[in-house]
């Protein structure tokens, strides 16, 4: 549905997006992940024909953004970072205005407005003035305007930013409910959001794509070495540590805090070795009680930070990004 080839966007002095390429298939939900200023919004603006690309090609639903912008625009629903709302208008008026702009026939407008109000749960505020709505409602009105013409492609720029956790959940559920009939690209810097709603992730950093993968495959990444959390009762920390270090394939044993007064470690295996069965056997043979044994998966957060750090970014910036 969406195809981007060698896309570059230069502003007067800086390069916002540098030679990126990716493809999004029909019905996929793709998370566009990156820090602030990584080039997410610029890429989305190119796809929606708001900005022309400096170099490269982009097409949506088979139409080129430069050659056939009208066809592209008809096939896209777009929620910009700040929802494009007219504060002085009433919700229903605003939605019918957008419906008319998007080329919906006059006789269908009332029906479509009712449908999207229902879908985004804003029916109770349809006769209110947009300027008086809460942020959560505004965001939903923004999504309503994006889906009013039932476009095959939806582009949502940070749909959950600035919302409280409950509202974020609502928006996420709404996006998930739309996934059936729409191809969706959503940008975010909240990692858990990607894990919950997206089938594929594109990580972008300083205008370049650093990873394109499914969420599951990203979790597998960087897990060439296995890390196992072990908790044991019935022995003192020092002996257990010594014993575990002797197990073949173990690279390193690190003591960990344990709340229940047990002895806890994080055991890191050598690359390519499978250490869990041997660990269990060793502990049981020694006559101790094994209370916990589980692999520690690398969180998406870590993967994200690793990938973006690999690009030699300023570490302080990365920390800022993860704090959000």
């Amino acid at each position: 549905m969406i195809k981007v080839e060698g896309l570059t966007k230069r502003y007067a002095r800086n390069v916002a997006v540098n030679n990126i390429s990716f493809e999004v298939g029909k019905g996929e939900i793709v998370g566009f992940l990156g820090k602030n200023g990584a080039g997410k919004t610029t890429t989305m603006r190119v796809l929606t024909c708001f900005l022309p690309p400096t170099e490269g090609k982009a097409s949506v639903a088979g139409f080129d953004v430069l050659e056939q912008p009208m066809d592209v625009k008809r096939n896209i629903g777009y929620l910009p970072e700040t929802p494009p709302l007219y504060p002085e208008m009433e919700v229903a008026d605003y939605l019918s205005f957008v419906a008319r702009l998007k080329g919906i026939a006059g006789t269908d407008i009332a029906k479509r407005v009712a449908e999207v109000c229902d879908r985004t749960a804003i029916g109770d505020v349809r006769n209110k003035i947009i300027g008086k709505l809460s942020k959560g409602y505004r965001q939903r009105v923004g999504i309503a305007q994006a889906i009013i013409h039932n476009p095959p492609v939806l582009i949502l720029d940070e749909p959950t930013s600035g919302l409280d956790p409950e509202q974020q959940l609502h928006v996420r559920q709404l996006v998930a409910s739309l996934s059936g009939d729409h191809t969706i690209i959503l940008s975010t810097h909240i990692l858990s959001e990607v894990e919950q709603s997206c089938s594929k992730v594109i990580i972008i950093n300083e205008g370049r794509i650093v990873a394109v993968d499914s969420v599951a495959a990203l979790h597998m990444r960087g897990r060439a070495t296995e890390i196992v959390a072990v908790e044991v009762t019935g022995a003192d920390s020092f002996t257990v540590k010594q014993k575990l270090e002797e197990v073949s394939g173990v690279a390193r044993v690190v003591s960990r805090d344990s709340k229940s007064g047990n002895v806890a470690f994080e055991v890191e295996g050598l690359e390519g070795s499978f250490i869990r069965p041997d660990l269990a056997r060793t502990i049981v043979h020694a006559g101790w009680h094994l209370t916990e044994l589980r692999t520690v998966g690398e969180s998406l957060e870590d993967i994200f930070l690793d990938l973006t750090r690999a690009e030699k970014t300023d570490t302080t910036k990365v920390e800022e990004g993860s704090a959000q």
């Binding site: 504060p87 702009l101 080329g103």
Partner: protein, 255 residues
């Protein structure tokens, strides 16, 4: 065309749900009401004086009341037009709603024409107050309608020009005050350009005077429809809207 109407009617609604429309109508009603009252009172007083002096020639309502009234309306328009046009694009750029317009399947010229037409409709509402004032004259007298109609046409065209220029200026900034101020400055300049011919008759002065807006309004006020003036007004409107469209296109490269 449907898109033009959609945008135009949205603009008109925007004026009337905000205080701008009422402020403009109120201010203009007050000022033009005062002008109308003064002109009529002066006309009545000097008419009585002439009768007492035994003059045979009747005074013309057109000359003493309507022409000055329309002339004043055009000057007041100079002040009101920037207030009408300043928000057209500046507000959309500030609030980000421009992204909705530019990513909808609407052509740039449809946006420009719709916005300008909406501003024109607002301007005509304001002008309607003058027309109402003048219409009351027909209760007691029988003014000549031809110069009134051409005068109103002239005011409409003149407003169209200034609004087209104001629309263009509004696309160049996201600050409404700057847009309004700059539009006022440009309009005023186009106004006073006509002064050059009062001290210089050289060809270049004639050219500059031709560019001035009031030069072309005078024939309309006298009831004369000259193609030369029509062409001037229509070409300024076209030029202003063309520049607006260009500026809107360049917005994509600038932002």
């Amino acid at each position: 065309m449907r898109n033009v109407l959609t945008i135009c009617s949205k603009e008109i609604k925007s004026y009337f749900v905000s205080p701008i429309a009422y402020l403009l109508l109120g201010l203009f009603g007050l000022i033009s009401g005062y002008f109308f009252y003064s002109a009529t009172a002066f006309f009545v007083m000097s008419g009585m004086r002439q009768q007492m002096m035994g003059s045979q020639q009747a005074m013309s309502v057109n000359e003493y009341v309507i022409a000055p009234l329309l002339g004043n309306s055009s000057v007041v328009g100079l002040f009101l037009i920037p207030l009408i046009s300043m928000r057209l694009f500046a507000e959309e750029m500030r609030s980000g709603t421009i992204e909705l317009l530019l990513t909808s399947p609407v052509r740039d010229w449809e946006i420009v024409l719709g916005k300008w037409a909406g501003a024109m409709a607002m301007y005509l509402c304001v002008l309607g107050i003058s027309v109402l004032n003048i219409a009351t004259l027909s209760i007691w007298g029988s003014p000549d309608w031809r110069p009134i109609l051409t005068g109103i046409l002239g005011l409409t065209l003149q407003g169209g020009c200034l609004l087209a220029i104001g629309t263009f200026i509004s696309t160049t900034t996201r600050n409404q005050i700057i847009a309004g101020g700059a539009t006022f400055a440009v309009s005023l300049l186009l106004w006073v350009l006509s002064w050059v011919t009062s001290y210089n008759e050289a060809p270049w002065a004639q050219v500059i005077a031709y560019l001035a807006i009031p030069t072309h309004y005078e024939p309309f006020a006298k009831g004369v429809l000259d193609t030369k003036d029509l062409i001037y007004y229509l070409s300024v409107i076209f030029f202003g809207l063309f520049m607006t469209k260009r500026s809107l296109e360049s917005l994509r490269w600038r932002s």
